[in-house]
């Protein structure tokens, strides 16, 4: 799906209220699906000084992230990747929150935070190594303060909390963002991270992308009440934000990060959004959800709404969009080429990095493996 086609699509029904479907509670929204800027007394100030350039930047981030994601999906279809977990539909949640972070902040992602990785400056092709099967995490977490993807659900929320505890000990004013999903909210580790961060008043923002689904299970299988409310019982605030509104996500995350920096402890942000695609390329969502739901969310497309706002406010012209389209295509090409050029790891990589300081058994097995490999080479020699 190109950006052009997204941008051209018309909203199927008006969802321009500040409320999500009737049973759902209020959420923070600064941009309606139609791209109208609505006032919000509490959060406006966090985006008050935003420049047209920055707004275009957010748009660009979302478009390029989506393009990258689409490329990865097609690379999977072509057999270049073993698997891909698409972020389609969650661009605003990720770019808004990602752009709220400061360079010295630290981010703990799940496996779907490609947009956040983008904001942190992780080269997108580096994300693909693990999905191609050449490594289990192909970047240095400390280069961009962006942890490796964590596949086992919920674990990273505790690492984030510990890291944040360390920030406090250092007397620094950095903060941490821990990403997790609606499904993850059920894991004991997530609850324990709430407890630890509250007790130690750790500077961590828990950013829950409630994309309505945990593979085939809707959020009702995880909770009876909106997830942002979970925080209260642990003694810190929770807020629900329109996860398809990049401005609102930016503002709310900035607010939460400021609280963290000011020593006010953790915050839970629930970004109410939607997983537009399959769970991963291995998944078949037609088995468990209808198309209407997806369509209703298409009307709330995060990229479309910012485009409308940029156009209506004359913050971007055709030239900008055209240039971005070209940049987008170039990114796709670059990623495609980078992935295809990614070498398979050397066989001896099996024995690398199990330990930092070495381990006698690993040495022994490496030597046996080398001898075994050599035995084939010998055969070849005859």
């Amino acid at each position: 799906m190109t950006v052009e086609s997204t941008a051209a699509r018309k909203p199927r029904r008006s969802a321009g209220t500040k409320k999500s479907p009737s049973t759902e509670p209020e959420l923070v929204q600064l941009l309606t699906p139609e791209g109208e800027r609505v006032k919000n007394a509490a959060y406006d100030k966090y985006v008050a000084g935003i420049t047209p350039d920055e707004l275009r930047g957010l748009y660009r981030d979302m478009v390029l992230t989506r393009r990258f994601d689409a490329e990865a999906t097609s690379l999977q279809r072509q057999g270049e990747l073993g698997l891909w977990a698409s972020l389609l539909g969650q661009e605003a949640a990720q770019i808004g929150s990602g752009r709220a972070t400061r360079e010295d902040d630290y981010v703990f992602p799940t496996y779907r935070e490609h947009g956040v990785a983008w904001c942190r400056g992780v080269p997108p092709e580096n994300l693909l190594g693990m999905f191609r099967g050449v490594n289990n995490g192909g970047w240095d977490p400390n280069s961009n303060n962006f942890q490796l993807y964590t596949i086992v659900i919920g674990s990273q929320t505790l690492h984030a909390t510990g890291y944040a505890m360390g920030i406090t000990k250092d007397g620094a004013d950095s903060a941490v963002v821990a990403y997790f999903g609606d499904g993850a909210s059920s894991q004991g580790d997530v609850a324990e991270s709430f407890t630890f961060s509250a007790v130690y008043n750790a500077p961590v923002v828990f950013f829950c992308q409630n994309n309505q689904w945990a593979i085939s299970e809707p959020t009702e299988k995880q909770t009876r009440v909106p997830l942002y409310q979970r925080a209260q019982g642990f003694g810190f605030p929770g807020v629900r934000v329109d996860g398809n509104d990049v401005l609102a996500c930016l503002a709310v995350t900035k607010w939460a990060l400021e609280r963290a920096r000011a020593g006010e402890g953790p915050t839970l942000v629930e970004a109410f959004t939607y997983r537009m695609g399959a769970h991963t390329t291995s998944d078949d969502p037609t088995r468990y959800r209808g198309d209407e739901e997806r369509q209703s969310w298409e009307a709330k497309d995060p990229i479309l709404r910012l485009r409308r706002y940029l156009e209506a406010s004359n913050h971007a012209d055709e030239g900008f969009f055209a240039e971005l389209e070209a940049e987008s295509e170039a990114l796709g090409r670059r990623v495609r080429e980078a992935v295809r050029a990614m070498p398979d790891p050397d066989h001896f990589a099996l024995f690398e990095h199990a330990y930092a300081d070495g381990h006698a058994l690993v040495d022994e097995e490496r030597a046996q493996f080398a001898a075994y490999q050599a035995s084939f080479a010998d055969e070849g020699d005859h």
Partner: protein, 325 residues
Amino acid sequence: MAEKMALAKAINESLRRALESDPKVLVMGEDVGKLGGVFRVTDGLQKDFGESRVIDTPLAESGIVGTAIGLALRGYRPVVEIQFDGFVFPAYDQIVTQLAKMHARSLGKVKLPVVIRIPYGGGIGAVEHHSESPEALFAHVAGLKIVSPSNSSDAYWMMQQAIQSDDPVIFFEPKRRYWDKGEVNTEAIPGPLHKAQVVRAGTDLTLVAYGPMVKTCLEVADAAAEEGRSLEVLDLRSVSPLDFDAIQASVEKTRRLVVVHEAPVFFGSGAEIAARITERCFYHLEAPVLRVGGYHAPYPPARLEEEYLPGLDRVLDAVDRALAY
């Protein structure tokens, strides 16, 4: 009633039969309902037996096993799915501390007929945590029984028996063999759950394996036969208890033993088998028991798994080494 079916389908049919014949049987886990599980092993069951018996659970493995224990205390027989091998560890405490020990703790008063299904092992090109073989981490713990079928018929019957067992059973499903087809006779009378089976008779050396490696060992035996060597292949089927009598009987005949599993060699099943068989067959063994398995390293990324997993060549190499003594 013999029918050819894939191993995954055999488990599906076995679960269906259990749900039909005993109203206390429940199926529970993440995505086991409408989706039918990520491998479709529970396909169609929720549709036919309803949400009260085939239960999509919250995403919390400790919660799944912990509530299954409670349901068993109430008289149910839950069959729990853990989505992938690497996701069983959040439930590890409930499994080793509660599920395994409650029968003993209650001096036999309480029975916990819980089956934990775990698709395990590698070879499917998956991302991290989706290819592990953690059976040794459960076998060390008393109170659990651990089995792993290698073929459709065993998958069907061993699941029936696991569900009927009054002890907790961890049922390791060889995920890379899910699509392999085999004959299933749904009216047969199966042998005991924890007995090994000679799946190929031979005289020169015994290969023992379970789950996914049985097929590999049969291929090894074929290849060895071409070189004039007669290998006996024993499908252990059960990791706890281990059928040492069957291994011993074979080794007393062949005098050489190679154990093959995907799990790391270090502290793996092969260690226990080698130690005990060496004790039992000290004067029979012409060669030390050799082990072929994973290395002492985290399961590697997919592009390296072929080097990590025991394959034809590595097993043959061990066979050659054993025969060279």
